[in-house]
Amino acid sequence: MNDDEKDVLRLRLYVAGDAPNSVVAVAHLRSVIEECASGRADVEIVDILRDPERGLRDGVFVTPMLVKFEPLPERRVLGSLGDRRFLLAVLGLNETPGE
């Protein structure tokens, strides 16, 4: 339990500027991280509109796309991340019981 909580989440979210789905995805991810993995998540947000080369290089073309590098296994989730329970499961997090 303690070990799990000390695991660092290394995430990257590819977005397309302020496209609605991208904005929504950022908001969903942010709320989950803040509420359930506060302080132990390393999140990089890549804006493909600003840096399309990055998308080409990383092989990510469709946005929004979340990539979880650590803890292993790597997982990729396409979409606006509207399903909170699914997102928590992907990230290996538990819902924090109450405030």
Partner: protein
């Protein structure tokens, strides 16, 4: 007016798909979206790749492939069977983006194409791209789940294309027309400026391909379906069999490869003409074709030899037995020997393949052996159209074409010739087997030969290990003699001729003798005549000489009488005879 025409011309993107631009208002719309719909294996990806490759290679218009269904690497690799395809495309202006969603990608919530389009735009800017193909976009769009999202992204794509100035081809599967899986994609057709549908139809076990321009915004579009074929040249519309009326006409002759056949044709085939050789199996149709090709190769004229259902090695080996060595000519490229499997493709596909071979090798002569291979499926109209197209292609290129036709049996020549190509052929040679005296021999007849004062006689076709020759035939009581019978007849004739010769010698001698006798007689007669003339002359002389002598004698007598001139009564009498007036004084 001119301006609008030039605008129209520049607003079309040539596809490089032979025959397609002619039925699609000059090409696909520029700066707009063309949707290519078709089932599995109908050639959607090939369509897109060919447009990209031809654009890059022939029009200096770099292109971008965005592959959703298969990896971009595999899509490119799959084109290596085409003359314009293969890995080299990557260095020649066709750039690939692998947008295949990994099977490990999970989905949660909605997504859009905004990021993707930004990446494609960046790539296009980097490489100066003019054409873009989104291959298998249905794979990605179907992940969107609901029709509203699909619709939204499709319109996003279209708007992006219109703004980017790129010309786009979007391919999508449309397997089951009219069924639910396809209706979700109806909007694709709706939003596109041009819709091309591809489909396969299986007729009597053979897949035939068709293409149709289902929609073309702002263009007159017939909406007709056209047969489509895939060859090493890629996709190609098999044009309707429209035989042109004017072809390059040549008065040059080309040797048939058989000396005596050339004589029968008063100098050989016409260059650029079509020659049909008919006959049942084993009547040396291939040998005649090979003799032609070999002869042409020796004169440095390139021949494309298309053999149906017989491997090149087999052809080479078989004709080597009659002294025709094809291998050296194949090595130096003057003979290009290609094999096709008759049943492996539709007649239309064979035509397209032969057309592609012609374009690749640019030969002066073409042999198709047998052309009747096109007819083994039995679709008469399609097959006949295919045969006519091959003739058309050859004629329009000024290529001399020899094609053989297999007849199922030796009877009913005209009815058995499977097509009325025999009517179109300029020269029709028929080879037949004739059984006689326990032997099977071959005969050759020139059924027709346009513009040639050809022999109508039947000749025996003789294959030796030194080649093909034709022998005179003898007819006895209306029956043509061949083989051993012919040989026996020849010997008998020779003997008869020898006898005649001996007789003639005698006769000649006799005649010479007769002539000599006549000459002798003439000489004798001439001598006799001379003698007689001499006699006459002598007699003439003698008669004059006798008169003179008498006068002299008279004068002597008078002189003697002058001693006593008065007593000569005879002198008075003599005065009348003697003209000398002085005498009687």
């Amino acid at each position: 007016m001119e301006q609008s025409q030039s605008l129209a011309a520049t607003s079309r993107m040539p596809t490089g798909i032979a025959g397609f631009d002619e039925v699609a208002d000059g090409g696909l719309p520029r700066g707009a979206v063309t949707v290519v719909l078709g089932g599995v294996g109908t050639g959607k990806t090939t369509f897109g790749m060919q447009v990209l490759a031809k654009g890059a290679l022939e029009h200096n218009e770099p292109g971008i492939l965005v592959a959703f269904e298969e990896s971009a690497g595999r899509v490119v690799a799959n084109t290596s069977g085409f003359v314009w395809g293969g890995e080299a495309l990557k260095d020649r202006g066709v750039h690939a983006i692998d947008a295949q969603l990994s099977q490990w990608v999970e989905q949660s919530g909605e997504f859009d194409l905004i990021g993707l389009l930004a990446i494609v735009a960046a790539k296009a800017k980097e490489v100066g791209g003019r054409r873009v193909v989104f291959d298998g976009i249905d794979v990605l769009l179907s992940c969107l789940g609901d029709a509203a999202s699909i619709r939204r992204e499709a319109f996003r794509l279209r708007d992006w294309v219109n703004q980017s100035g790129l010309s786009a081809i979007v391919t999508a599967k449309a397997d089951h027309w009219g069924q639910a899986s396809a209706t979700d994609f109806d909007f694709l057709e709706f939003m596109a400026d041009c819709v091309v549908t591809l489909h396969n139809r299986v007729v009597q076990g053979i897949a035939l391909r068709f293409v149709r321009v289902a929609k073309y915004r702002g263009a007159a579009n017939s909406g007709n379906e056209f047969p489509l074929v895939i060859t090493t040249a890629g996709l190609e519309i098999a044009a309707n069999a429209t035989l042109r009326l004017s072809y390059p006409v040549s008065a040059d002759r080309v040797s048939s490869g058989v000396e005596r056949l050339d004589s029968m044709l008063t100098g050989g085939y016409y260059r650029g003409s079509s020659i049909l050789i008919t006959g049942v199996p084993g009547t040396a149709k291939t040998s005649l074709s090979a003799a032609f090709a070999e002869g042409a190769a020796r004169r440095g004229q390139r021949t494309l030899y298309v053999s149906f259902d017989e491997a090149p090695e087999q052809v080479v080996r078989n004709v080597a037995s009659i002294g025709l060595q094809l291998a050296p000519h194949i090595e130096d490229g003057t003979l290009v020997l290609k094999s096709l499997r008759g049943r492996a493709a539709s007649p239309e596909a064979h035509v397209a393949q032969i057309r592609a071979f012609l374009a690749e090798t640019e030969p002066q002569h073409l042999v198709v052996d047998p052309l009747s291979a096109l007819f083994q499926h039995g679709f008469d109209q399609v097959s006949e159209g295919a045969a006519l197209q091959i003739l058309d292609v050859a004629k329009s290129r000024g290529v001399t074409m020899i094609f053989t036709s297999l007849l199922a049996s030796s009877t009913g020549l005209a009815e058995q010739t499977p097509i009325n190509i025999s009517a179109i052929a300029d020269t029709w040679i028929h080879v037949a087997n004739v059984n006689q005296g326990g032997e099977r021999n071959r005969t050759l007849t020139i059924v027709k030969s346009r513009g040639t004062a050809h022999s109508n006689q039947v000749r025996e076709l003789v294959l030796t290990n030194e080649g093909i020759t034709l022998a005179d035939v003898y007819s006895v009581g209306g029956e043509v003699l061949l083989g051993t019978l012919r040989w026996e007849k020849e010997i008998a004739d020779q003997r008869a001729r020898e006898g005649e010769r001996n007789d003639a010698i005698v006769l000649k001698q006799r005649a010479e003798l007769a002539l000599a006798e006549t000459r002798f007689e003439l000489t004798t007669l001439a001598q006799r005549r001379a003698i007689q003339e001499e006699e006459l002359a002598q007699l003439q002389k003698r008669t004059t000489a006798e008169v003179d002598t008498r006068v002299d004698e008279d004068q002597e007598r008078l002189q003697r009488r002058s001693a006593d001139p008065t007593d000569s009564p005879s002198a008075v009498a003599d005065q009348g005879v003697d003209p000398d007036p002085t005498g009687p004084q």
